[in-house]
């Protein structure tokens, strides 16, 4: 006959068990090094247990200005240094900035595609080729069967399929192995306002929203800066921003 414990001790026992799990240790050793694609940002790589895992779908989520592209540029810089990368471009790619981040543009295959089906087909073909370490695509609404197929292809090709979007929809959220939410915390300006002022950079907060092989919740702070900033930097804190900012913020 089961013994019913009072509510108080049960909650305490559960809290003690949870505290003893040491969630951080689970993040530390997920894959061997060659199975990971490092982002190029040390703190973020630590939060991810070494980087994004190959052969899976990863997402970079956040509002229009959230630092997703800066993290993507770090991943592409590493991938193009080691081999080839591909990007399905919906017209948002700005190559000079990627080149500034160290991406070797001659090793980056850019495939223009406009609608969701075209983007999915392009990603499908690129994954099948097994020639690219990373395939980047914008996050679009696709059926679960399509995401399942893409996840299978990414696994077979041992390629990281990285999606960029405001927030992963249910289907993608299910098939993604790693989801990273991004937000800009602080914007840095060089000099005061006016024509002599310019954007100096920004601080990105990246939080692991989902990790198939580790507990979520780890976060990292990344500072990206323009190379030509002088000595004086003025910081402007951006208000509390939710990681699940929807695409409406893109419309101004």
């Amino acid at each position: 006959m089961p013994v019913l414990l009072p509510a108080g001790p049960k909650r305490e026992a559960f809290q003690a068990l949870k505290a003893g799990l040491d969630l951080g240790s689970a993040r530390r050793s997920v894959f061997a090094g060659d199975r990971l694609v490092p982002t190029g940002f040390d703190e973020l790589d630590r939060a991810l247990g070494g980087g994004f895992s190959r052969g899976a779908i990863g997402t970079l989520e956040g509002a229009g200005s959230s630092g997703r592209t800066a993290i993507m540029a770090g991943l592409l810089a590493g991938a193009t240094a080691r081999g080839l990368a591909a990007s399905v471009d919906d017209g948002a790619l700005y190559p000079p900035a990627l080149a500034g981040a160290g991406v070797r543009l001659e090793r980056l295959l850019v495939v223009p595609a406009q609608n969701a089906i075209g983007i999915a087909r392009a990603a499908d073909i690129l994954l099948r080729s097994r020639a690219f370490e990373i395939v980047v695509m914008p996050e679009v609404q696709l059926q679960a069967t399509v995401w399942s197929r893409l996840a299978g292809l990414a696994h077979k090709a041992d390629t990281l399929l990285l999606t960029l979007g405001a927030q992963a929809r249910t289907e993608l959220a299910y098939f993604a192995s790693v989801r990273l939410g991004c937000a800009i915390e602080r914007v840095l300006w060089a000099n005061e306002s006016g024509p002599f002022c310019e954007l100096g950079g920004y601080d990105i907060c990246a939080r692991v929203l989902k990790h198939r092989h580790a507990a979520p919740g780890a976060s990292a702070r990344i500072r990206v800066m323009t190379s030509n900033t002088g000595g004086f930097l003025r910081e402007r804190a951006v208000g509390e921003r939710h990681f699940f900012t929807t695409a409406r913020t893109m419309a101004i």
């Binding site: 190029g40 592209t69 990206v224």
Partner: protein, 480 residues
């Protein structure tokens, strides 16, 4: 034994053949229509006093009833090339000495010399040119036999006697040498053969050794067979029709296997494929399939061809299919020390072909370029697999810098306060920080553009690049 095919005055003969209306009128061949020089002429024009090398005016002054034709070297070469191809039916070894002169190695060819000559005439009959054919033991003797008489067969032992009465001009000597020899009383090859070899060579140089040998009925000139352009193809005709995709792919797989088998036999790979489809309606469609790297792998070929024909529609069932391998190259790629890091060119070529077939969009790479305007700071170019250079340290390359994502250019509402934007968008959002303006003026020669660009941080944390052009405001991108 060698068979000589000789067409005297070949270039003029080709030019005359194209003008059958000329009949027996004497003709000159000039190198160009205006102020040209005579490059060939027939016996009647020569008899009238015209000579090779004269200007057309000079030649016409001598042979005023001669008709002037203009030399067309491309046409002449094309006709000769066709004749050589026709001669392949007589012997696989053909020495292309010059336009109008070819030698065929006849050892091992069935039949006797007369049969060979008849076969050669038959092969060249369609060209309607005055072909002379003869058989001899060496190139020079065979040519001399053709010069003496069409259809002449000369054995080794008859060679010296055959060439002896011929004039020394047949040795293709320059006029000065001919004059010197004539001063010595040497006008025929027989007279030349009787001269002692050593003193002749000492006086006329090394070339005289060859003249002397030829005059004696020997020819040290080697036989140089022309290189054959290998053609490898496979076809399926008259074996039913294919009206389904699977049937077509099945047939293509068979052809790819056959082509690759032939390619492997000669140790070559194809860098280009031509797939020709013949439909029941009479439609013939050829699809050119480029391969990034020459291959003799049937699977790669089939994949690339499939990728190319994906999405193509035929009006009626396919009744004939031909797969032709072109741009043949020696197989084998140099192995790299770190081959696992090198991109798979075949896989990339296949992916590019599929992308083009599926999306109509070619995969590109981008390059940056100096420009003031955002949209002109980069350009797309066809993607080419870069050779080497992989394996650099990531740490040395990654530089975290702000990234701009381009947005579709659209007009926005902006309220100014002082000289800076205060409210942006609709509904309006307050600008927290603003940098700019930066004036861009360019394009005075092809439509002037004057812009004031700003970076603005809005109250909701969005960071935009906006610009004012005239009185209107536009959004260009968001920092991300």
């Amino acid at each position: 034994m060698l068979l000589c095919v000789c067409i005297p005055n070949y270039t003029l003969a080709v030019a005359r053949r194209d003008r059958p209306d000329l009949g027996d009128v004497p003709a000159l061949l000039a190198d160009k229509p205006d102020r040209g020089r005579v490059v060939a002429l027939d016996e009647r024009a020569r008899g009238d006093g015209a000579r090779v090398g004269q200007t057309v005016l000079q030649a016409c002054a001598s042979a005023n009833d001669a008709y002037v034709l203009v030399h067309d070297p491309i046409r002449s070469r094309a006709v000769w090339s066709d004749m050589l191809d026709a001669l392949d039916a007589v012997s696989p070894l053909v020495d292309d000495s010059a336009e109008g002169l070819a030698y065929l190695e006849m050892r091992g060819i069935d039949g006797d010399p007369q049969t060979w000559i008849d076969r050669t005439h038959l092969a060249l009959h369609e060209f309607d040119l005055p072909v002379r054919v003869a058989v001899g033991p060496s190139k020079f003797v065979a040519r001399a036999a053709a010069y003496v008489d069409d259809g002449r067969i000369c054995a080794q032992k008859e060679a010296a006697s055959l060439v002896a009465p011929l004039r020394i001009e047949i040795l293709d000597l320059d006029p000065r040498t001919i004059e010197r020899l004539e001063l010595l009383g040497v006008r025929t090859l027989g007279e030349l053969a009787r001269l002692p070899h050593g003193p002749l060579v000492r006086r006329f140089g090394k070339a005289a050794a060859t003249w002397h040998a030829r005059a004696c009925g020997d020819d040290p000139t080697p036989f140089l067979p022309r290189a054959h352009e290998l053609q490898i193809d496979a076809s399926l005709y008259g074996e039913g029709t294919a009206d389904r995709e699977e049937q077509l792919y099945f047939a293509l797989r068979m052809l790819a296997d056959r082509v690759c088998s032939d390619l492997a036999r000669v140790g070559k790979g194809a860098a280009m494929l031509y797939a020709t489809f013949e439909c029941e309606s009479g439609e013939i469609r050829r699809i050119d399939v480029g391969l990034a790297q020459a291959t003799a792998d049937p699977r790669t070929m089939l994949d690339v061809v499939r990728a190319k024909i994906e999405g193509k529609a035929f009006q009626s069932p396919v009744t004939g299919l031909r797969l032709q391998a072109a741009r043949l190259e020696e197989l084998g790629t140099p192995a790299t020390l770190f081959a696992q890091r090198e991109p798979d060119t075949q896989a990339i070529a296949l992916a590019l072909a599929r992308l083009e077939a599926a999306l109509g969009a070619e995969g590109t790479s981008v390059c940056t370029q100096a420009a003031h305007r955002f949209e002109r700071r980069f350009a797309y170019e066809p993607f080419a697999v870069p050779a080497g250079g992989a394996g650099q340290s990531v740490a040395s390359l990654a530089r975290p810098v702000p990234q701009l994502r381009l947005l579709a250019v659209r007009e926005i509402a902006v309220t100014m306060r002082g000289n800076a934007p205060a409210l942006v968008g609709s509904p309006p959002r307050a600008v927290m920080d603003c940098a700019g303006p930066w004036r861009i003026e360019e394009g005075w020669f092809d439509g002037p553009v004057t812009r004031d660009e700003y970076d603005v941080l809005l109250e909701d944390g969005e960071l935009y690049r906006i610009y004012r052009q005239g009185e209107r405001w536009y959004v260009r991108g968001a920092y991300d």
